[in-house]
């Protein structure tokens, strides 16, 4: 079976800084991957490259069998490759319900319709409401996003990602800035997502990583250091030295 998402020889540099060097990864369908590495390792950059928000200097990206290297970001999303953002990238003045409804309208191709009222598309709103319910956001779903608590905004990031019906979901530090006790709940919600969705999440908290990931990729200085099961990663001396060393040293 082909991988849900894979890259071949991906390269990217900012001036003299190499942020992606010969990245080759392959995510089998349905797997929960964690992408870890010290600050500035190039994790967010890798997501930007895979989703088309940055153009690689070289290499290829495949979604299933399809070469998507040259597709615009929105066309990758339409094909099921969806991401969330490390720093909230939401619609401050729209309510949560409106935001998720918008994502559904875009997915279903009804967003260009300007001669019919949104209220004629009850199914889209209902679906948005269900997504928000599954993430425990319905109580505040009519309030403008900017009035939501920070933790709720992090959940809305995920809700927007889910609304696009992803086959591959890339979560960039979904719990960034969320207190540790809340982040467990957030990851429980992520763990409960359908097994049809292949998930790659970036996370710094090793407890969370070991609990929720079935496989782990370690990135350092724009390179993949190694990939393996949580146990293999935990036992690898290089990881201890490079990753844990740089965080706690």
């Amino acid at each position: 079976m082909t991988a849900a998402l894979s890259t071949r020889g991906l390269n990217k540099r900012f001036g003299s800084l190499i942020v992606a060097s010969d990245i080759a990864i392959s995510l089998p369908r349905g797997v929960r991957y964690a992408l870890i590495g010290p600050n500035g390792a190039g994790k967010t950059t890798l997501i930007n490259l895979m989703t088309g928000m940055l153009k690689p200097d070289g290499g290829q990206i495949f979604l299933g069998d399809e070469d998507i290297t040259r597709l615009e970001p929105q066309h990758r999303v339409q094909r099921g490759l969806v991401r969330t953002f490390q720093i909230n990238t939401l619609f401050p003045d729209l309510s949560a319900l409106e935001s998720v409804t918008l994502a559904i309208c875009e997915r279903d191709g009804i967003a260009p319709t300007w001669w019919r009222g949104l209220s004629s598309y009850g199914a889209a709103t209902d679906e948005a409401f269900e997504i928000l319910k599954s993430l425990n956001l319905v109580n505040d779903c009519y309030r403008p996003t900017r009035e939501l608590a920070y933790g709720q905004q992090r959940l809305l990031e995920i809700a927007l990602g889910l609304a696009a019906k992803p086959s591959v979901l890339l979560l960039d530090e979904p719990a960034a800035g969320v207190p540790k006790d809340e982040s467990q709940g957030l990851f429980t919600a992520i763990a409960g997502l359908s097994r049809d969705i292949t998930i790659l999440f970036i996370e710094h908290d090793m407890d969370v990583v070991f609990r929720f990931a079935s496989r782990i990729i370690v990135m350092v200085g724009g390179r993949i250091l190694l990939e393996g099961t949580p146990q293999e990663i935990a036992e690898d001396p290089r990881v201890r030295e490079v990753y844990l060393g740089s965080r706690h040293g």
Binding site: F91, D126, L160
Partner: protein, 332 residues
């Protein structure tokens, strides 16, 4: 406005509440009929206000809903005005077909330029709209043989509407005509902003960076709303040409582009009624103050503009609705 606590509100009820006609809205449109009874001597002014309001509405669609700041929107107003004027001079004076021609000419040019508009943002975009505005103005100025240049387009003769309602000296027909066109276009705009497309536009305004990540093609949306906005501006220009039976360079110059931004900001951006309210305030103020002193009437407008942007971020309409919400909130 809308109850925001508890889960009693279903998503459907919420959406319907957002697009339902309010009492104040209905009262506003009924009030537009008052000039016929209260100010029969000012119907020409009322007609100009309705036309300007329509122009401001067209700007609100791009500025208020998609976040595209234009300093050259008079280009489309003027194109519509010249198209309607020239059409009446060389083809025939039937007004409704003339208005369609104005709409189509402005819309086609709007569509053509939308490809540039959709590619840029921020200061670059503002400068492009400004430049396009200058360009169209200069074209109208130099095409003297057809536009009359600085002398204005003369010889515009408009037939009675439906071959029956003659354009009279008092502006009775002019105001009726302008008001009907304003209202019908407003209905279209109102439907548009409550549609899925309207939601997408607000998405672009709120965060253009998120849009591709939810699978949206912002550029296609922007091209579409820019074309629609240009078309409406063209209709407004066409109305002015037909109701005044002349077209001057003033219909297409920078002053008009700047004035309409001022009106919209005064009234309140992104509220549909903001442009209408701003147009009323601006035009009435100009009428009153320029009577006192024709040179300095921008002085009070300048003071008002500075005061509004400093103290009323949502414009006068935003201030009013906050006041109203406060009064309602205090009631048990």
């Amino acid at each position: 406005m809308i109850a925001t606590t508890g889960t009693a509100l279903t998503p459907h009820a919420y959406l319907q509440a957002r697009s339902r006609w309010g009492v104040i809205e209905i009262a506003f449109w009924l009030a537009t009929l008052l000039p016929f009874f209260l100010f029969p001597n000012y119907l020409s002014l009322a007609s100009q206000i309705a036309i300007t309001a329509l122009f401001a509405l067209s700007l609100d669609l791009i500025l208020g809903y998609a976040g595209i700041v234009s300093l050259g929107h008079a280009a489309f107003f003027g194109l519509g005005a010249y198209a309607a004027g020239i059409f009446s001079k060389f083809v025939w004076g039937e007004p409704l077909s003339g208005l369609v021609v104005a709409a189509v000419v402005a819309g086609v040019v709007g569509y053509a330029t939308s490809f540039i508009i959709a590619r840029f943002r921020h200061l670059t975009l503002i400068m492009i709209t400004l430049g396009l505005g200058f360009l169209v103005h200069e074209l109208a100025n130099s095409a003297h043989f057809i536009t009359g240049g600085a002398d204005g387009l003369q010889g515009v003769r408009i037939w009675p509407i439906f071959n029956y309602f003659r354009f009279d000296l008092y502006g009775y027909t002019a105001y009726s005509y302008s008001l009907v066109v304003l209202f019908l276009t407003f209905l279209v705009a109102r439907r548009l902003i409550n549609s899925p497309f309207g939601l997408a536009l607000r998405g672009i305004r709120e965060n253009p960076n998120r849009m591709p990540a939810i699978g949206a093609s912002s550029r296609a949306h922007i091209r579409k709303i820019y074309t629609i906005s240009a078309t409406i501006a063209g209709i407004a220009g066409g109305l002015l040409a037909q109701t005044t039976e002349t077209v001057s360079l003033g219909s297409i110059d920078f002053q008009r582009s700047a004035d309409v931004v001022v009106m919209l900001v005064l009234g309140g951006v992104g509220k549909l009624y903001g442009g209408l309210l701003g147009a009323i305030i601006f035009m009435v103020a100009r009428d009153q103050f320029s009577g006192l002193n024709p040179q300095f009437w921008y002085f009070p407008i300048g003071v008002l503009l500075v005061a509004v942007v400093m103290f009323l971020p949502g414009g006068i309409l935003g201030g009013l609705s906050r006041l109203l919400a406060g009064i309602r909130g205090r009631r048990p």
